[in-house]
């Protein structure tokens, strides 16, 4: 699987993601600068964490107008997997590929620490290797990760089984005030995943957890 890691000015988890993906069997990874417009040769897209455009105005709001985003949206509409992590999730929400919004954390703090996640659905290319209810540990690092949406949207994503990860009760529970403890959601077609926690920072025993690898192995189609 050829996967593109999109690089915006201010992306800072792009190299982490690249390095992890490079180690995944059957993955071929390249950086793609945000000024590019062609993603034809890629079968999956990763939008990494960071502070694209300094998070000015609202996190992710300016990145959505980068030239590459037209191609990312096109790829997403054609069913290719798109994974947005942290700032990538914010970009996907601002682009309209995912519903809701990510607002400032309940306690107004930038939070950088491990959290506990519960896998809520295995019905996606990102989580097919996981078990329903499986607990994962990986870090968060954000100030605007407090997911919110109107009642109608929440009902829809709940009824459609599109909540992928929720914050578990361990390690301090819901860190940011997200409604329904939401840490990651899918689009209606189930090929776009946005998540605040960082699987690429939980992909080496040295970092304390390798749970993040399960997501990348799922995506690559490795058992």
């Amino acid at each position: 699987m050829k996967i593109a890691v999109i690089v915006f000015p201010g992306s800072n988890c792009d190299h982490d993601a690249y390095s992890v993906l490079k180690g995944i069997r059957r993955m071929e990874v390249n950086f793609v600068w945000h000024k590019a417009t062609d993603l034809n040769r890629y079968e999956a897209i990763l939008i990494p964490g960071g502070f694209s455009y300094g998070d000015y105005l609202r996190a992710g709001s300016i990145a959505k107008f980068s030239p590459i985003m037209t191609s990312v949206i096109d790829k997403a509409k054609r069913g290719y997997p798109v994974l947005g992590i942290c700032n990538g999730f914010q970009v996907l929400v601002e682009s309209g590929l995912l519903p809701g919004a990510l607002i400032t954390n309940r306690n107004l703090k930038f939070l950088s620490r491990p959290v506990s996640l519960v896998t809520r659905t295995t019905d996606s290319v990102f989580t097919r290797n996981l078990n329903k209810g499986e607990k994962l540990v990986m870090p968060i690092a954000h100030r605007q990760g407090n997911f919110t949406a109107d009642e109608e949207t929440l009902k829809e994503i709940r009824d459609d089984d599109r909540i992928v990860f929720t914050y578990g009760s361990e390690l301090g529970g819901n860190p940011n005030g997200s409604v329904l403890n939401i840490a990651g959601i899918l689009n209606k077609e189930r090929n776009v995943l946005g998540m605040m926690p960082h699987p690429e920072r939980a992909a080496d025993p040295l970092l304390g957890s390798t749970d993040g690898l399960k997501i990348f192995e799922s995506l690559a189609g490795n058992s």
């Binding site: 105005l57 919004a101 607002i103 400032t104 954390n105 309940r106 107004l108 919110t148 949406a149």
Partner: protein, 80 residues
């Protein structure tokens, strides 16, 4: 000609900054402060446009970029 634009969270959306400032105000004696809403104030200057065009541009800028309509609401005034 310029637009003075105000963007705030919609009613019903939790406003963590507003809440924190409200508590701070209450704690230093401003007991009459019942709620505080935070937002953004944006001044946008136009070149060579009339009032009608300025209104249209401000409206479009708010919709496309300045406000996230999932969570925010906006209003603006065009001033000379």
């Amino acid at each position: 000609m310029k637009a003075e634009i105000y963007v705030t969270y919609k009613q019903g959306i939790l406003d963590p900054e507003g809440n924190a400032v409200k508590k701070a105000l209450n704690s230093i004696g401003f007991d009459a402060v019942g709620s505080v809403r935070f937002g953004k104030f944006i001044e946008m200057e136009f070149v060579d446009v009339d009032r009608a065009a300025a209104e249209k541009l401000a409206e479009e800028a708010c919709r496309k970029l300045l406000a996230n309509q999932n969570t925010e609401t906006y209003r603006f005034e065009i001033v000379d």
